[in-house]
């Protein structure tokens, strides 16, 4: 299985993602943002970080970089594109997934472990996953998901909510919402569910000596789903 991780100026989770993908069997390539052509891939990942220093709006510059034309074409032809954290911010700026990510409600950078409930398993990312809640890590300043009420209706009608902030039992309540996200949304899909944007970092949860193993569970399942 071939994967590509795009490196933008200011990406800083690209190598962690490379380690994670390789650990679970992907043949991964690092792709520079200035390249025009995406190599043949089964999965493209937009990693976390601070692309272009978060200038203007997080992800806004990266969304217009050269490689993104290929990534957008790849996504529109049904290819799997996953954006994590800043990658999610880039995805909303391209319009591949609806909504925006505003500054966290209390204006603080949040860096901690959270639980997320998996809301939809009818997609290549979470299909066959034998857990309903994952413990993952978040580290962001702009993760407060927002969209218009019309967009929210469409998102809900199409089951596009992927994961929501919850407690360890999967209860989605305001008190488990770290950043003020609408409906506790931590990740969403595009309509066809081949594009996933999410704030939590599964690549930070792949080593038993450092973290929980829920990232390992996610990546193992993902590669099995793609095979």
């Amino acid at each position: 299985m071939k994967s590509s991780v795009i490196t933008f100026p200011g990406s800083n989770c690209d190598r962690d993602m490379d380690v994670a993908l390789k650990k679970f069997g992907f043949n991964n390539k690092m792709i520079w943002h200035g390249d025009h052509e995406l190599p043949k891939s089964d999965l493209v990942v937009l990693p976390g970080g601070f692309s272009y220093g978060d200038y203007l709006r997080c992800g806004s510059m990266a969304a217009k970089s050269k490689i993104m034309n290929s990534v957008i074409n790849f996504a529109n032809s049904g290819g799997l594109v996953m954006g994590i954290c800043n990658g999610f911010q880039i995805l909303v700026e391209t319009g591949l997934v609806p909504g925006v990510l505003l500054r966290n409600k209390y204006l603080e950078f949040i860096c901690k472990n959270v639980f997320v409930k998996i809301d939809n398993k009818d997609n290549p990312y979470f299909k066959n996953l034998n857990k309903k809640v994952l413990e993952l890590h978040i580290a962001h300043n702009e993760g407060n998901y927002f969209c218009t009420s019309e967009q929210l209706k469409e998102i809900e009608d199409n089951d596009q909510i992927a994961i929501s902030y919850s407690n360890k039992d999967g209860q989605v309540e305001k008190e488990f919402n770290p950043n003020g996200s609408l409906k506790n949304i931590a990740g969403i899909f595009n309509k066809k569910k081949n594009v996933l944007g999410m704030m939590p970092h599964p690549e930070r949860m792949i080593d038993k000596s450092l973290s929980s193993e829920d990232g390992s569970i996610f990546f193992k399942n993902l590669i099995n789903n793609i095979k």
Partner: protein, 80 residues
């Protein structure tokens, strides 16, 4: 010619920075504030001397990059 664009958050979008600025101003003694909304200001020198054309170029920039129309509005002003 120089064209300016002002980007502001739409009415329904929460502006926590504006709120904090409001509270700080209030704490400094500026008690007559209903609301503060923070925005962005761009001054763009366009290689175009026809005001109508120059404005339409900047409008295109606003739509494609400078503003995110899900949460922001833009206003274009001719400055020179």
């Amino acid at each position: 010619m120089k064209i300016s664009a002002i980007i502001t958050l739409k009415k329904d979008v929460l502006d926590p920075q504006g709120k904090v600025i409001h509270q700080t101003l209030d704490g400094m003694g500026f008690k007559d504030i209903n609301e503060v909304r923070q925005g962005k200001y761009f001054e763009i020198d366009v290689k175009e001397n026809d005001p109508k054309k120059a404005k339409s170029i900047v409008e295109d920039m606003c739509k494609k990059l400078l503003a995110n129309l899900v949460i922001e509005n833009y206003k274009i002003i001719e400055t020179q």
